[in-house]
């Protein structure tokens, strides 16, 4: 054997052994066949279409978060202008991105502009409003919009992730999807055939606020309030009681509270939240929460000042309860309502994970039952094995000894393909199996190209050794061209495609690269080894 052949053979052997070890002998070295099977199952991850599970695509309504920011700014500017005794007609939101400050006293304009540049320097742009004297339009900057969008998406993804993880499912994934402006999140729940619970937990609001009650009285409707007071005091808001609020009985019907617009404490200030049995009513449950130290420093003095007033616990824009503040409270509180253990548990979970920064919409939902997945695996594997067998038998008959070479190259190709997919943690999907089958086809093609070329060279009168060399050299050019072309198209599929298209592309690219290695490098090495062993004049079995 020539020395360089030895090195080639060694290299090939190392690659094969590594691949086989990685597929079957990792992470625990197997001592029984069952362990080999377990290792293989661990390494080759199946997609949702094969193992069954749910696939949800949801879109975060980022626009809401932007509108929210605009609303908050309107409130803040109003408060500040008032505190500085600036005269103006009104401050109102024009649309999600614009605020109008109408007819401000010209002498006091500098107060407004100072305020904006001090507090909202890179967020809002001020310009004179068209057609209105002494009025100004504030416009949300594109950079600020992008920042809100990014923050909202990150927060939404983290929140959903925490909520889903708390369900205790196996290997759920929550990842952003689509382009920057798609605002989409993909949630995959392997093995979950019914998405009702997951969707309920994802969708739950969980926006908690503690707000001061302005008016000890409550009102049966907004109209009733307006009839008595004609106008809502500045910075106040009317909110209804939640359906399970104790004050709402069948004969009182709707109950509305007058509350401060600005919360003292929000869900973000929570340190923990847990469900507990209600002390007064052991049959029902409540959620106890504690505040972060920073929030507690605010909350303590605030409750001290407001002893005797009521504090509303607002969850998702309705009042859960409005207990009277009996003394200074530093860092703990509770949410009462008609909770079962489950609903209290879910609320505590949602509070711990934090509120979603904006509501979500479901764009896509796919659920594959385990029986269909099992069917697909069976069909896919059967078809792959059968077609592989047919191809191999044909190659052995048609090319005799050289056919054995091709069969070996095909098997190696599959082993390398699976090992590389396992290495990168790629997931085997149904279209992925199709990609494997196409890889088999391309592998056969490479072998056929080489062998036909060698036959041609032999027909043209070359010796066996020269024919093998020329055959591989000439066919190599073609193989590179065909493979690169397919890889180019597969790369586009991988980058721009989603779901099944991407799975297919990944398998195909890996298979093609493995194929160049096996059908050219390995196959040629075997031929060369064979040639050194055989008689120079003997005929090649091809």
């Amino acid at each position: 054997m020539k020395p360089h052949l030895k090195w080639k053979a060694l290299f090939i052997l190392v690659v094969i052994v590594l691949c086989i070890y990685f597929l079957f002998g990792y992470p625990t070295f197997p001592t029984s066949f069952a362990q080999v099977k377990d290792n293989f199952k661990n390494q080759i991850k199946l997609g949702l279409d094969l193992q069954g599970g749910s696939h949800l695509v949801l879109q975060v309504q980022v626009r809401e978060a932007i509108a929210q920011e605009t609303d908050t700014t309107v409130d803040r500017i109003t408060t500040m202008l008032r505190s500085k005794n600036v005269h103006y007609d009104e401050v109102r939101r024009i649309d999600d991105l614009h605020i109008l400050v109408k007819n401000i006293d010209p002498a006091q304009y500098s107060t407004l502009s100072d305020l904006i540049s001090a507090q909202y320097n890179n967020v809002w742009d001020v310009s004179p409003a068209a057609g209105e004297p002494n009025s100004y339009t504030l416009t949300l900057r594109p950079s600020a919009i992008a920042a809100i969008q990014e923050q909202t998406m990150t927060q939404a993804r983290e929140t959903i992730e925490q909520r889903i993880n708390a369900l205790g499912l196996t290997e759920p994934t929550v990842v952003p999807r689509g382009g920057r402006d798609a605002n989409e999140i993909l949630v995959q729940l392997p093995g979950v055939g019914d998405t009702a619970e997951a969707k309920a937990v994802i969708q739950a609001g969980g926006q908690l606020e503690l707000r001061l009650v302005r008016d000890p009285a409550t009102y049966p409707s907004v109209a009733a309030y307006m009839a008595q007071h004609t106008v809502l005091p500045a910075g106040a808001e009317l909110l209804p009681a939640c359906p399970d609020n104790r004050v709402r009985t069948s004969d009182t019907g709707d109950v509305w509270y007058v509350l401060d617009r600005a919360p003292i404490v929000t869900g973000r200030d929570l340190r923990t939240a847990v469900e507990n049995r209600n002390a007064r009513n052991p049959g029902s449950w409540q959620v106890d929460f504690t505040l972060s130290p920073e929030a507690a420093r605010r909350f303590g003095p605030f409750t001290q000042q407001n002893i005797g007033n009521s504090m509303a616990i607002v969850l998702d824009h309705c009042v859960k309860s409005a207990p009277v503040i009996n003394g200074r409270i530093d860092d703990s509180g509770m949410i009462e309502g008609s909770f079962s253990q489950q609903s209290a548990h879910d609320l505590a979970l949602v509070l711990r994970a934090g509120a979603l920064p904006a509501s979500i919409k479901y764009l896509e939902e796919r659920t594959v039952g385990p029986s269909l997945g099992a069917d697909s695996i069976r069909h896919g594997v059967q078809a792959s094995v059968l077609s592989l067998l047919v191809v191999m038998i044909f190659m052995l008959i048609y090319y005799r000894m050289s056919g054995g070479n091709a069969v070996l190259a095909l098997i190696l190709n599959l082993i390398i393909l699976l090992a590389v997919m396992a290495l990168f943690g790629a997931v085997l999907t149904l279209p992925g199996i199709a990609g494997v089958i196409l890889t088999i086809g391309m592998g056969v093609d490479s072998n056929v190209l080489v062998f036909e070329r060698i036959r041609e060279e032999i027909r043209n009168g070359k010796s066996s050794a020269a024919a093998v060399d020329a055959g591989f050299d000439n066919a190599f050019r073609t193989i590179i061209d065909t493979h690169v072309t397919t890889v180019v198209s597969a790369a586009f599929l991988g980058f721009f495609g989603t779901g099944p298209i991407r799975g297919f592309a990944i398998t195909l690219v890996v298979g093609l690269v493995a194929n160049i290695f096996t059908a050219v490098y390995v196959s040629k090495t075997i031929f060369q080894y064979h040639l050194t062993k055989m008689d120079r004049q003997a005929e090649l079995s091809i």
Partner: protein, 414 residues
């Protein structure tokens, strides 16, 4: 040695007009059906809507199912029986509700309601075994404790529940029609069986798959699929133009475009559904057809240098003839592979493999029937068809715009 062809010597380019005619007929037939007939049938990925795949224990009465759906106000939904080739049972149906302004999630809920109302388990109040999940079954077993376990009971029952449901899903196709069958699962004792019998009922159907796709997603996916295909074609055009000459790239891309159009025509004629997976198949066929074309082009490039005195169409004929046995062998074997997939791959892969079955035949044919004749026609039109030394290198030298010979030579010498 076994050989398919001994030195074939066919005049392929002389038959180019027949090839054009054949392609013309196929394109006309398919696209008449697409444009003026029933058109392309889009699957849920592209049309949006709700899909529910149900397997019944016994072949369902479709009229009864239809009236059940009508009672929920979705009588216009499509009911498609799913049949496996090789098995005569037709107890699986796909119910498809198009999203026409209604919420797809609501549509799906309505389908499930209709199924429950039509085939419901009745008033026994027991949960349906076919809908049991590993955790719900384990909970029941742990509570009833038929094996009188005290230590680790939860773990043992969880494993047992998983084994039982694995049996249901893999061996019984998702539907258990006789609880006694579960006795075959290792670990299931008569006591376990009687607990299952007393706590569960046997529903007559199981949901195999549900899909809900919003209409906006559908439109987006459709746009994306078209774009991705065009990008892929563009990428290949550039690569071939770089390796050969631009007319080769154009001819190859035209040929695969022709393949995709014809395959789409067959989809419309035979009412197969276009889904995302089918797009993957169309792209496979693009790659495959391109592969075939490049093998022939490669040979033309090589022969063009060796046979400088021959007219270009003779060179092309010779190249096709020389690669003919490879073409037939590879196509034949690949065709066999996808045929196996088509026959045995199950319903999920049916449309996918159909695209490949058609595509491989058309793709192989287009390499010599469309791509090569276009290059020959181009050369003839340029007036180099009959002059010695024609072909890619010479053709480009005359244009003088770029030096292709320099690029071709190193590749050829390898």
């Amino acid at each position: 040695m076994i050989e398919l062809f001994k030195q074939p010597n066919l005049d392929w380019m002389g038959k180019a007009k027949y090839f054009y005619a054949l392609s013309g007929i196929l394109l006309l037939a398919g696209w008449t059906s697409i444009l003026f007939g029933r058109g392309i049938k889009y699957g849920i990925d592209f049309s949006g809507g709700a899909n529910v795949d149900v397997r019944f224990a016994n072949p369902p009465n479709l009229d009864k199912l239809r009236s059940g759906l009508s009672a929920q106000g979705i009588g216009n939904s499509e009911i498609q029986p799913i049949r496996d080739i090789g098995s005569s049972s037709n107890s699986e149906v796909l119910i498809f509700v198009e999203s026409k302004g209604q919420d797809e999630n609501v549509a799906r809920a309505k389908v499930l309601d209709a199924l429950n109302a039509t085939y419901g388990v009745g008033s026994s109040g027991k949960p349906d075994f076919n809908f049991a999940t590993p955790s719900s079954l384990a909970a029941v077993l742990t509570e009833k404790d038929p094996l009188f376990l005290s230590v680790n009971a939860g773990d043992r029952y969880r494993q047992l529940a998983k084994a039982i449901l694995d049996y249901r899903d893999t061996n019984a196709n998702g539907i258990v029609t006789n609880f006694d069958d579960l006795g075959k699962v290792p670990g299931v004792t008569p006591a376990v069986l009687s607990v299952i019998k007393s706590s569960f009922s046997q529903g007559p159907f199981a949901i195999r798959k549900t899909e809900v796709v919003g209409p906006k997603v559908g439109a987006e996916l459709r746009k994306q699929a078209v774009l991705v295909t065009l990008y892929a074609l563009g990428g290949m055009l550039v690569y071939i133009a770089f390796r050969f000459e631009w007319v080769y790239g154009a001819a190859a891309v035209l040929a695969v475009f022709h393949d995709v159009l014809i395959t789409l025509g067959f989809f419309s004629l035979l009412r197969f559904e276009i889904s995302l997976t089918v797009i993957a198949a169309l792209l496979t066929l693009v790659g495959y057809s391109m592969n075939d074309t490049i093998v022939i082009f490669d040979r033309i490039r090589e022969n063009n240098r060796l046979l400088r005195r021959e007219p270009f169409d003779v060179v092309v004929n010779k190249s096709i003839n020389q690669t003919l046995s490879r073409t037939i062998l590879t196509s034949g074997l690949t065709f066999l592979t996808v045929l196996v997939l088509f026959l045995m791959g199950g319903q999920v892969l049916r449309a996918f493999s159909f695209a490949l079955v058609v595509g491989i035949i058309v793709g192989t044919y287009s390499s010599f029937g469309i791509a090569a004749p276009i290059v020959v026609a181009w050369n003839r039109w340029r007036g180099h068809g009959v002059v010695a030394g024609s072909g890619p290198a010479a053709g480009n030298k005359n244009r003088g715009s770029e030096n292709v010979t320099a690029r071709l030579a190193p590749a050829g010498r390898r």
